[in-house]
């Protein structure tokens, strides 16, 4: 690690102030991505602004057909939340597949989404369910939020406050783990929200994306059969040590079919 300043603001305004004053400061959430990066000397922020003391960033609540989760909500809180289990069990299940217990005890939903790792799990959940990202200054739709590899629509000095999930009629996530990191080698989140079917894929490209061809087919018939035989192609797919682009293309098809079946078994609201 290089040397850095450490700040622990008590509210959002204070945090925004600190960021405005120091362009090289970085937000610290659960630290599960940021701290390993610092330890490996891959980043050298001038300061860390720890979000742990800011109550505006916490809390899980429902507002009509929306489930709202504060950015600083830890994975374990989502998994154990009776409200999430009742309204959006597919999300609780997806979160339970992130990392290991240590990571889930500290990592946050906001940190994960703001980080936009191409192999993260919750990016797929947010994109498939068409979540809204509420920041200190505006709302951003999931289709706009994930810009590129580790890049989001968040501006310099902007803080993600909460994420709002519309409650799906049915949804499921199927993850095939990278044998080393156990992030998603490929993960597919299928959701039907108010009749709108979305298939979000993570792990396969530089950023999470929607498989539009599958969505169109499913719109006609929501069944595994409907997407069988549809070729996703290998354009833009990651080809690396762990899996070839062809293999990832295959996983996208297989996992989509399995996610559809899982979503169909689970009743409305989500499986």
């Amino acid at each position: 690690m290089y040397q850095f300043q450490y700040h622990r603001p008590k509210n959002l305004a204070e945090a925004l102030d600190l960021l405005a004053q120091d362009g090289d400061a970085k937000l610290l959430a659960g630290g599960q991505t940021l701290l390993p990066t610092l330890r490996q000397r891959l980043a050298a922020p001038s300061a860390l602004v720890d979000l742990a003391g800011i109550s505006e960033l916490t809390g899980i609540s429902t507002k009509g057909e929306l489930l709202s989760i504060g950015a600083m909500t830890r994975y374990i809180e989502i998994i154990e939340s009776p409200l999430v289990q009742a309204t959006l069990p597919s999300l609780a299940r997806a979160v339970a597949l992130v990392g290991d217990p240590l990571v889930r005890n500290r990592g946050t939903i906001g940190g994960s989404l703001a980080n936009n790792d191409p192999t993260a799990d919750l990016t797929a959940a947010a994109l498939a369910m068409h979540a809204t990202f509420v920041t200190d200054r505006r709302s951003i739709s999931a289709d706009e939020f994930f810009v590129d590899l580790f890049e989001t629509a968040l501006e310099q000095g902007e803080i993600l406050v909460r994420i709002e999930f519309p409650l799906p009629d049915r949804a499921a996530y199927v993850k095939f783990r990278n044998p080393a990191s156990r992030y998603a080698l490929v993960g597919v989140f299928v959701a039907e929200v108010h009749g709108d079917i979305r298939v979000a894929v993570t792990g396969a490209k530089a950023k999470v994306f929607r498989e539009h061809a599958f969505e169109a087919a499913l719109q006609t018939e929501f069944s595994a059969k409907a997407v069988k035989g549809l070729d996703v192609g290998t354009t833009g797919l990651i080809d690396d040590l762990h899996a070839s682009a062809e293999y990832r293309a295959n996983l996208i098809s297989v996992l989509t079919r399995r996610a559809i079946s899982a979503a169909m078994i689970g009743s409305h609201r989500g499986a």
Binding site: A180, H242, Y247, V254
Partner: protein, 779 residues
């Protein structure tokens, strides 16, 4: 008495201490005034160093010194040299480039140490290391084993244009040629054995101290053989008597063969400590380990079996290319895989065999022994070939094995590659394993899997390995004190195997000592007179036998003291259950009482040499041959290529079982490492020679959830070669697990037509194999 004796499942005495965080591992050791060292390593696979500028680093805050290869050479420090008599193909002496502690003008692999920075704090040392400016001129590199041996490959050393360091031959070439000429059928295959890293929980470390008053060095380090580390450092590096150095190893969080003796950091911390007059500590970080450590395995084997008309094996030929890496820093780098390839005929009666092992240099970290060190390679090759032979000839693989197995009544058996199997009952192992695995019920299980869309496979692999080499003796000392309690000092070095427990059990069996009265010591050259350390499944066999012999001496001396105490002739004294008894009477004294008397001249015969401390240095006369049978069952998801091990059975013969519980730990751990290698683990260098699996983000380690239940059964046939009857157990699980898991995968893939696949059987490789066959068949 029985509670702690040989054969009892005694829970490990050391666990309470270790589990409560009271262990003392390498990084737990800190000394007043210590400084911190950081090794700057090569980012290139192969490059000429044009210049090194350390001025900025030396001027950085807290920096005590920045050393380069020139400084090391200028101080006249030496380096170890390989001593095994080896030749190149043309008969000239082998090419075995020594390794300096820091390179001077050429880096030869990613991770090659270039500079050593010492500072008041670790952070300052790291900051300074980044300020060292090195101008590299990259050169072409070769890392792939087969490519390094092929003509036109970039030479790693200019002095050795073909990259061939040496060759080793075993067996009888002309007899084997003749056997193949007579053979009715021959089957030939090529198998790749990947490169892996030991990935111990505790990464390496070294803490060097120099005492100017005594003119004496102390090295604290986690190594497998402190005495040999001392010997190497004193004789080849510092050129001082061994009395001028102490090497201490505390608890060790795993070693698996890879914590060897030639590591340059040992030299660097001692050298720097002397120059700076301060202790110097180096701790390998996790992200540094794959760069800094020796690797395991990495070979390509072409193996061929000849059979007669009755499917009896008549001959075996093997050409194995082993990847040595960039240096031959010591004999360690010559051991794999050639030393242990003699079991490549397995447990089968193959009258003639010939093996040629070509050791090639490459721009990679040197390879060295890693759990099995050539033995898993040998069994992998033969057991895979037998399954492939059975498939090609369309015969039952079990029947083919039975037909060719060495029967128990053929023991002892001299194999065609020079190994002398003294005892074992291979057929019984296999029958036991088949029963325990319900082999007969497999077709029904396969059918059930098929109904779920899954492919199921089963395999049987028979393992045998050469263990506990007679080339190395081992030391044990039993020291009584005046209270009658005991210090047991061993030349072996525990790395997590549970030595404290097994050795106390052996001592208990012989002397009836309460383990609570025994203090176990290993890993300190000032306390333990001698030792060769722990490697090659030898500690219980050789070290345990040394305890046995030292205990005999205690009994002999004790008998004379007891005779004096009981006013009887020593010849009338019997020793049993910790008591000396006058034969045929109830007059007795305990060993504790005898020990107390041993220190009081008035209680001893006149002129008697008092005290009670005895040692033994034992060397076995021959290698032992632990063996066993592994049955593995897997399920493969044809849609994703995912492999799941669903059942695993092993029947082992490690000779006398000292402790079934710790034995099971050794076996299961060995299987885990084999599973890791077959299903996921892999050190990968890319085309430019960059190491791409340096972290756990890319280096896949098996976790508990990828294992099935593992049934461990024993079929011990004790050897007569040592007083314990033990054969060695440390590597047994690993040796057979590589072929058993891979063969089970191949068996599962048989119905879809896959015939060729190398480890690791990762999901994408399995899927690709399935798909290419389907494509060929036009599906």
């Amino acid at each position: 008495m029985k509670r702690y004796g040989i054969g009892q499942s005694v829970p490990r005495f050391e666990d309470s201490r270790l589990l409560r965080g009271r262990g003392r591992f390498q990084d737990d050791r800190n000394l007043p005034g210590q400084s911190y060292g950081v090794v700057l390593r090569s980012p290139h696979a192969h490059a000429r160093i044009v210049s090194i500028d350390t001025a900025a680093a030396r001027a950085a805050p807290g920096v005590l010194a920045v050393y380069t290869g020139e400084d090391y050479a200028a101080d006249g420090l030496g380096m170890p040299k390989a001593t095994l008599p080896r030749k190149r193909p043309d008969g000239s002496p082998m090419f075995a480039p020594q390794r300096p502690a820091l390179v001077v003008d050429r880096v030869r692999y990613v991770g090659d140490p270039v500079a050593f920075v010492v500072a008041d704090s670790l952070a300052e040392a790291k900051d300074a290391a980044e300020l060292i400016a090195i101008d590299y001129e990259p050169r072409s590199a070769v890392t792939d084993t087969a490519a390094a041996a092929s003509s036109g490959a970039a030479p790693v050393w200019d002095e050795c244009p073909d990259n061939i360091s040496n060759i080793v031959e075993k067996g009888n070439k002309s007899a084997t040629e003749a056997a193949f000429a007579r053979a009715v059928r021959t089957i030939k295959r090529r198998y790749v054995i990947t490169r892996v890293h030991a990935q111990y929980m505790e990464t390496r470390g070294a803490l060097g101290v120099y005492d100017e008053g005594d003119e004496r060095y102390t090295l604290y380090t986690d190594c497998q053989y402190p005495h040999r580390v001392r010997n190497m450092l004193c004789s080849t590096v510092f050129r001082i008597p061994e009395s001028k150095m102490r090497v201490v190893s505390g608890d060790i969080g795993g070693a698996f063969g890879s914590k060897g003796w030639q590591y340059v950091e040992h030299r660097l911390v001692l050298w720097a400590a002397r120059k700076l007059q301060r202790p110097v500590k180096w701790t390998c970080e996790r992200s540094e380990a794959v760069l800094a450590d020796e690797h395991g395995r990495d070979s390509v084997g072409e193996i061929e079996l000849g059979l007669d008309g009755d499917n009896k094996f008549v001959g075996l030929r093997l050409h194995l290319i082993g990847n040595i890496g960039a240096y031959v820093g010591s004999d360690r780098n010559l051991l794999v895989p050639s030393m242990m390839i003699g079991t490549a005929v397995g447990v089968y009666d193959i009258p003639s065999a010939y093996a040629l092992v070509t050791g090639v240099l490459s721009n990679t970290s040197p390879t060295a022994p890693y759990r099995g060190a050539g033995r898993p390679e040998a069994i992998y090759l033969i057991e895979r070939l037998i399954d492939d032979t059975a498939r090609e000839l369309n015969v039952d693989p079990l029947e083919l094995r039975r037909r060719n197995m060495i029967p128990a009544n053929a023991m002892p058996y001299q194999n065609a590659l020079g190994c002398y199997y003294d005892c074992g009952d291979f057929l019984a192992n296999m029958d036991m394993a088949l029963a325990a695995a319900d082999y007969a019920g497999f077709p029904a299980r396969r059918e059930q899997s098929r109904a779920r869309g899954m492919l199921r496979g089963i395999s049987v692999a028979n393992a045998i390995e050469q263990a506990a080499s007679p080339a190395q003796s081992e030391f044990a000392e039993i020291r009584f004190d005046t209270s009658g309690s005991v210090q047991l000092l061993m030349g072996t070095k525990n790395q997590g195997q549970g030595h404290e427990t097994t050795f106390k059990q052996i001592l208990h069996e012989r002397l009836g000592l309460d383990p609570g009265d025994v203090h176990f010591t290993d890993g300190d050259t000032d306390q333990v007179a001698f030792g060769m350390g722990t490697n090659g499944s030898r500690s219980t066999v050789v070290g345990g036998s040394a305890i046995y012999l030292a205990a005999e001496k205690i009994i002999e001396k004790g008998r004379r003291i007891a005779g004096h105490m009981l006013e009887s002739a020593a010849t009338d004294i019997e020793f049993a259950h910790g008591r000396f008894l006058v034969a045929g009477t109830d007059r007795a004294v305990s060993l504790k009482q005898v020990a107390a008397a041993a220190f009081v001249p008035a209680r001893l015969p006149l002129g008697f040499d008092g005290g009670l401390y005895e040692s033994a240095t034992y060397a076995p006369s021959k290698d032992t041959y632990p063996n066993g049978c592994h049955v593995c069952e897997v399920e493969v998801d044809p849609e994703t290529g995912d492999v799941a091990v669903v059942n695993y059975v092993i029947v082992d013969d490690v000779g006398t079982v000292i402790n079934p519980l710790t034995l099971k730990g050794q076996i299961v751990g060995g299987i885990a490492q084999g599973l890791g290698q077959i299903l996921m683990e892999r050190v990968v260098y890319d085309d430019t020679g960059q190491l791409v699996t340096a972290s756990f983000m890319d280096y896949a380690m098996p976790r508990a959830d990828v294992f099935s239940h593992i049934t461990v059964k024993s079929n011990p046939v004790p050897t007569k070669l040592n007083p314990l009857g033990a054969k060695g157990a440390g590597e047994a699980g690993c040796v057979g697990s590589l072929p058993s898991i891979m063969n089970a995968v191949m068996n599962a893939l048989e119905p879809v037509g896959v015939r060729q696949l190398d480890m690791p059987a990762t999901s994408d490789r399995v899927w690709k194999a399935i798909r290419s066959v389907a494509k060929e068949n036009g599906k």
